[in-house]
Amino acid sequence: MSERDTKLKSVIDMALSVLPHEIGCDDCFDYFAAYADHLTNGAAMPEPLRLVGEHLERCACCMEELQLLLEAMKTQNKVSR
């Protein structure tokens, strides 16, 4: 795909994926840690966290932050008892 086609697809995705109610990056960040915990635990997402998921599908920068957070969380050990 040429650079122009990549931009064309990106801008069309941006336009056509618009939802009536979306949250912004800061609102997303407020629930970021809870979202990451739910994701790693495999727990069902309550409503505010579903909005975080929708934002992440539309914001590459927040998605990059989430990937890095999930990687950082892998350093947290499980202590056996």
Partner: protein
């Protein structure tokens, strides 16, 4: 079966020099002597708010967690050790100042790691984009016309029309700020840096681009293109 169980012994074990525990790290078990104190989320808030040894000990442990997490998260980036240390320190100050705002809807350590990864990533993006102006960011995201040096000569008529519709929608329907913000994003610029150059913050930038996206969608539909038609032309690359 837990490690140690096969030998009829349980973990953790106490010995003269302290405590030995077994930890699972990336699928394998390792032995650690005198591990850090286990803290609940409430312990973290209370210990970090304490003065004296208790507070210092919690700060030291949290700093270790932040540095270890950052080093792992950024291992594929050319991040130097100083960036990791500086970001951990900056995040630590933020966490201390905001500890009372921790709501408890996540693990405390996850909350702290979310702050340090944002601090480090923002710093990395700032360094990478510090010499790039808004005009340059915006220019990098401009979509070239169908007949240009950058485009192959054999693109379909439908695709050429779609390119023109989108280019016109961007030129005619967006405010200059919306156009700059959306094109800068298309050019790969991070929102923190676009927001700074527009004299706004990341949330307000999101609102600005949201309104722009709505206008673009309306303009594309007004030009007679259905969503399905746009998708089918796009997928014919």
């Amino acid at each position: 079966m837990k490690p140690g169980a096969q030998r009829g012994r349980s973990w953790p074990r106490v010995f003269r020099g302290g405590l030995i525990v077994r930890i699972q790290r990336e699928g394998s078990w390792q032995t650690i002597t005198n591990p850090p104190k286990y803290r609940t989320d409430e312990d973290w808030v209370s210990d970090l708010s304490a003065v004296g040894f208790r507070g210092d000990e919690a700060l030291t442990e949290l700093r270790r967690i932040l540095v270890t997490g950052l080093a792992r998260a950024f291992h594929q980036f050319p991040a130097d050790s100083a960036m990791v240390q500086d970001s951990a320190q900056e995040a630590l100050l933020l966490i201390i100042s905001r500890v009372e705002t921790y709501r408890g809807d996540s693990r405390f350590v996850t909350w702290a790691l979310s702050i340090v990864t944002r601090v480090a990533l923002s710093e990395m993006r700032r360094a990478r984009w510090k010499d790039v102006s808004l005009d340059e960011m915006s220019e990098a995201g401009r979509i070239p016309p169908p007949a240009s040096e950058a485009s192959p000569a054999n693109i379909s008529y439908e695709r050429s029309r779609l390119i023109e519709v989108v280019r016109n929608a961007i030129e005619d329907n967006l405010t200059p700020k919306q156009r700059d913000a959306i094109q800068a994003e298309l050019g790969g610029a991070p929102p923190d840096e676009i927001a700074k150059r527009l004299g706004t913050n990341r949330n307000a930038l999101y609102k600005l681009t949201y309104d722009g996206r709505v206008r673009l969608k309306q303009a594309i539909l007004r030009a007679g293109w259905s969503e399905d038609h746009v998708r089918s032309v796009l997928s014919g690359t």
